[in-house]
Amino acid sequence: MGEAFSNLMKAIKAGEFVYTGELEPHKSADLTEVLAWAKMLKETGRIVAANVTDNPQSVGSVSSLVASYLIQRETGLETIYQLRASDRNRLALLSDLLGAAALGLRNVLALTGDHVKKGDTVEAMPVFDLDGTQLTDMIHRMVYEGRDLSGNEIHGPRPMFNIGAAGNPNAEPLEMEVLKLERKAEVGADFVQTQVVFDVDIALRYLDATEHIEVPILIGIFPPKSYGQAEFFDKYVPAVSVPKELLEHFKEFKQISDKEERKEKINEYNVEYFTEFIKRIKKKSTCKGVHIMAVGYPEVVSQIIESVEK
């Protein structure tokens, strides 16, 4: 494991079980909403850092670099600056990374990124000069050798980044995913955040299979706000399956006509379900935290964390 530059990495190194959140700036120059969200996450007092998405699903959005900086400046919440290799070549990536370092960002999540054909600008040229693993390699060299990929020197102090990589516990065959993670660790990934997992057995299986890599893993969870959302993940999100039991409970909640009562039941269930989920994965040695992607559902975040930590 490299040095700890960010609060996130310092907490992981100190042996804390960490919680990260997720913020999704949109196709707009107005960041009011995302800043309000960031403030809510900060106020939980439990979220050590939040991811700021970069053109999620290849939908053109405001710069994640600018949004990350403004979130940190305006709310004091540390960010995990997401950076996709799909839209920039290595020169542009370097420029953005040096800019991010100058602005005090300390975490980067190095991603390959969805293909542009998955988004709203399908006519664009997909760049992919690098992939996520190579981007991790590049950032690691910037931080530890003070050089770019061509070996050119970066002047002045080296940028201080902790590098995150993506993992997918739902991937089949899992062996392929494990070998991929070995590569990412080899080139310097400091931590891993995973795709959403609903089934705790899938998370446990992944943690067991990757234990030898010894890279801190934050398992991704997404407490659903409604039956529709849970069903969406089960049916439409590639490779993600939602346990029947959870779906059936949400189906029952759907029948509750009183809105407030329904909301309360869903909250209660999510807290109960994910408390148990987190308590079980927490026992694994490489599981160092949870990445809670509760976009549009901030109230549940602190409830789940409080319930786990009490």
């Binding site: 690098l130 992939d131 693993t133 190579q134 065959p173 070998l179 795709q195």
Partner: protein
């Protein structure tokens, strides 16, 4: 081979404009072998153009035809076409983009236009009548360590450390797109994830060490164009 696809007739007629004499030049190389630009197709093009000019513009078009052995060979084009081509002739090439440009280099003062869109280097599956792009000519072949499956061409992202998160059940997140002659997508079909195929084949060969290997970023200068050998 180089895979080509004929442009819509209206587009070809538009390119010809007011030219009085058109020389249609076929190619017995890739375009001929795969029946897009051989003798038969050249004759068909002659009929189509003559009819089209009669119907649309009420005029006769003078058409001359030739099929050369390989339009990508400067000397062959020069030797075979010089006796045929007159000063004001308009040339329609039924080869790939290389053929069009080779003829244009030989006949510097003539207008040479393409009858085809040039697509890719590919393999033909005769049973289905399909062509698949398999090589991009990157100039840095790594097939010896990727189980003879090219990730540069067959992975939609051309990544070297795949598969990416878009691989689900061995399939790619970006499907094949079948387009009509106006380039409109008429059908999409599932595509295998190249890295999943590489993984499977290397696993069967007991060479997962090659899959696990970290591949550093490509040196793009090797495939920088235009190239010369």
């Amino acid at each position: 081979m180089i895979v080509v696809k004929r442009k819509p007739l209206e587009e070809i007629v538009k390119m010809i404009g007011s030219a009085e004499t058109v020389v249609i030049v076929g190619c017995d190389g890739c375009a001929g072998i795969y029946q897009e630009g051989g003798e038969k197709q050249v004759e068909l093009m002659r009929d189509l153009l003559e009819m089209s000019m009669k119907l649309r513009e009420k005029r006769d078009l003078n058409v001359k035809t030739a099929v050369v052995l390989r339009q990508c060979d400067r000397q062959i084009c020069s030797t075979s076409l010089r006796p045929l081509i007159a000063e004001d002739d308009f040339i329609l090439s039924m080869a790939c983009g290389v053929g069009v440009q080779t003829i244009a280099q030989v006949f510097e003062d003539h207008t040479v236009v393409p009858a085809h869109d040039t697509l890719f280097m590919g393999m033909q599956d005769r049973e289905q009548g399909d062509f698949y792009e398999l090589c991009r000519g990157c100039g840095d072949c790594m097939l010896f360590e990727t189980a003879s499956i090219c990730p540069v061409t067959r992975c939609a992202k051309s990544i070297l450390n795949g598969p990416c998160g878009g691989c689900v059940n061995g399939k790619c997140e970006v499907p094949y797109e079948v387009r009509d002659e106006k380039a409109k997508i008429i059908e999409t079909t599932e595509k295998d994830c190249a890295w999943y195929l590489i993984y499977q084949r290397l696993k069967n060969n007991g060479r997962l060490d090659l899959f696990r290997k970290y591949r550093p970023p490509r040196n793009r200068t090797v495939s920088g164009f235009p190239r010369r050998l």
